[in-house]
């Protein structure tokens, strides 16, 4: 395969495209709402009404508005239908000829869509994730070709550094720096790992990217492999994401068939193969050293760092680990340049970020927005606010993050602003809570999570999370005293400062942030106890 062949495939595919394209979402969320039958009925109706010559029905990846699925979107007129049932199919096709469609017509110009800026999700919801040709038709794999023939590995690393891209998995470590470290390491054998162990409850952007545009991630991995000098990559995916695994397997096979993965990619001397490793349900495996242990077939216990995986990772070889979303940005940066990418976002947080907007909010789903947008814009304009009532807090960063009170909604969403107020970007989950949600209960919910997910290797995390959970339970049972509150805070600091890995270090964040912004809720529970004990004594 060479460039001419790649362009021919793209051209043929574009020519095959029919004038009216009916896109039906086939991602996990919409599949759960019966979207496969919707697609089948739409396909049959098109056939029966003899429109096959100008109308095609395509199964596509996630359109983002998961709360209103199944979604059907029609190009080129950009009509969006929500909560479509299989019975609606005839009326939708009829509407193409001037009839009236039965299902609710969504507003594709709603701020939920209009305020987005799509780089990673540029083609999701438009291309069939199970077809490599469709990916090639929208320019896919041309970035890989470009780096192989027009750039040296050092130039690729330089370009990524210049773009200002930072890790999207939570930590926010500069991606270019990570690449440069691995590239500099001596040794023949190096590895690239794509971290698809998206364990944060309330985050599903990586699932959506893997399900909707698997080739984008494969292309990013191959470019990373070329840049750092690795010939072998692993994608580690949670077993909870069967559809993502299935689509990745298919994508890898298709790419191998075309010679885009495997030996001598695009007839260059560069070899790169990708294997899938499936998790088995352990949150701690999102931590890079634990993930490496898991790929090696062991218990997912984290290891002390240094040595960092960049020096000694998988099978003690230099290893580059990047998150799914990070790798999904690479092809676009190579295509459009570092200068373009770094013009988006804020001074220290470049580009866009995908957030999973969920919880007590009108518009549930995935949004990709430029860094620096305010939380208020996301929650109130795009999300449409809380259905009945008002926002009390927004939880970002999952069990490692914190709760941001409604009074602080005007902060810009970027790495530094979020950590300054005691939360974090995390992988991008945003759970909106209203007045009915007890913040102490939320803290307990996360502590229960961390208690159960602690791998048990280091003492502060193993026993600290249990004690923190018990203390919270005591306070919630209105048995807590002011001394317990002090103990809670002191223990939080201890666990934070002495744990081995990120799980323990960040486990107290939900408690610390709720203590900081909602102290009255803790106080109320504690004074309830003092009142009770006075009455009984």
């Amino acid at each position: 395969m060479d460039l001419a062949e790649l362009l021919t495939i793209a051209d043929t595919e574009r020519k095959k495209q029919k004038s009216i394209r009916v896109h039906c979402c086939t991602s996990t969320g919409c599949q759960a709402a019966n979207s496969l039958s919707v697609r089948e009925n739409l396909t049959n109706t098109v056939k029966e009404s003899g429109l096959s010559n100008r109308v095609e029905v395509l199964g596509v990846g996630c359109m983002g508005f998961c709360g209103r699925g199944p979604l059907v979107q029609i190009d080129p007129e950009d009509i969006l239908y929500e909560e479509v049932t299989p019975e609606d199919a005839p009326s939708i096709i009829d509407a193409l000829n001037g009839g009236v469609a039965k299902p609710l017509q969504g507003d594709s110009q709603h701020p939920f869509f209009a305020r987005q800026m799509r780089i990673v999700r540029q083609h999701t919801g438009k291309v069939d994730p199970e077809s490599i040709e469709k990916y090639i038709a929208v320019g896919g794999y041309q970035s890989l070709y470009k780096v192989l023939y027009e750039m040296t590995p050092a130039e690729v690393v330089n370009e990524i550094s210049k773009s200002g891209l930072r890790g999207r998995g939570g930590g926010g470590y500069p991606t270019g720096l990570k690449w440069a470290t691995v590239a500099k390491m001596p040794g023949e054998q190096k590895y690239v790992i794509c971290n698809g162990d998206e364990g944060d409850p309330g985050a599903f952007m990586d699932r959506s990217v893997l399900e909707s545009d698997p080739h984008l991630v494969l292309e990013g991995m191959a470019i990373a492999g070329y840049a750092v000098g690795a010939a072998h990559g692993y994608i580690y995916v949670r077993a909870e994401y069967p559809l993502a695994i299935q689509r990745l397997q298919k994508a890898i096979q298709q790419a191998k068939k075309y010679g885009i993965l495997g030996s001598q990619i695009f007839e260059s001397p560069f070899d790169f193969k990708i294997d899938i490793r499936i998790g088995a349900g352990a949150f701690v495996c999102g931590e890079e050293t634990a993930l490496i242990q898991s790929i090696e077939g062991k218990r997912g216990n984290p290891l002390p760092r240094p040595p960092y995986p960049a020096e000694s990772g998988l099978w003690k070889c230099p290893t580059l680990i990047n998150n799914v979303e990070t790798l999904a940005n690479i092809a676009a940066i190579i295509r459009q340049g570092a200068d373009w990418y770094s013009s988006i976002g804020t001074e220290n947080s470049k580009g866009t970020k995908i957030f999973a907007l969920t919880g007590k909010i009108r518009n549930n789903g995935l949004i990709e927005v430029p860094m620096g947008i305010t939380l208020r814009e996301i929650v109130e304009e795009m999300g449409g606010g809380v259905p009945d009532g008002e926002v009390k807090a927004v939880q970002t960063g999952g069990p490692s993050g914190g709760c941001i009170p409604a009074s602080m909604l005007d902060i810009p969403v970027d790495y530094d602003s979020l950590s300054k107020i005691g939360s974090m970007m995390g992988s991008g989950g945003m759970v909106v809570m209203d007045r009915d949600t007890s913040m102490v209960e939320v803290a307990q919910f996360y502590m229960q999570f961390c208690r159960e997910e602690s791998c048990g290797k280091c003492v502060p995390c193993r026993t600290g999370t249990v004690q923190l959970y018990e203390l919270l339970a005591k306070i919630l049972n209105q048995q807590g005293t002011p001394a317990d509150l002090e103990k809670l805070e002191a223990l939080c600091q201890m666990v934070k400062e002495t744990s081995l890995c990120g799980l323990g270090i960040s486990a107290p964040n939900p408690i610390l942030s709720t203590l900081r912004y909602f102290p009255e809720e803790y106080q109320e529970l504690i004074s309830a106890y003092s009142l009770n004990s006075q009455v009984t004594s």
Partner: protein
Amino acid sequence: MQPIATGTKTSQAQTTKPKKPTVDKRIKALDIAMKRNRYRQDALIEILHKAQESFGYLEPEILEYIARQLKLPLSRVYGVATFYHLFSLKPSGVHSCVVCLGTACYVKGGGKITSAIEEELDIHAGETTSDRQVSLMTARCLGACGIAPAVVFDGAVAGKQNPETVLKQINAWQSDT
């Protein structure tokens, strides 16, 4: 290979009619998986997935068999099997109901769904009813947050659930038997 085949056969014989061919088929599937991975020790997690898929759960004989085939200490195989939540060392029920307790589902009432089922079936999450019909499990996050609260019935994700809809499904399973 011998011990498992006989071990499974006896336990099968006690409950139902002997199913000699299926036992062999399941072992065969496991053998193929190990061969495909060239008996590599780092493929342990894939092998355990395959074993669980074929046998429904990981009984001690299976773990011993895998340890022997991959030339790993049994402690290592047992350690991995018990570390990861998705591996089960106990048999599960005919039907499975997994309630998602990720944050979005929790905020929208996933906990209430779990309590309702626990009360209805008189079991705790992670347990199976005494008639082996229904297993109740909870999940960390299915990534189906847009349609929270989500419940998985026998592998199919259902969104926007509430205690009534879930109990209806469970009662339907029970009346089938």
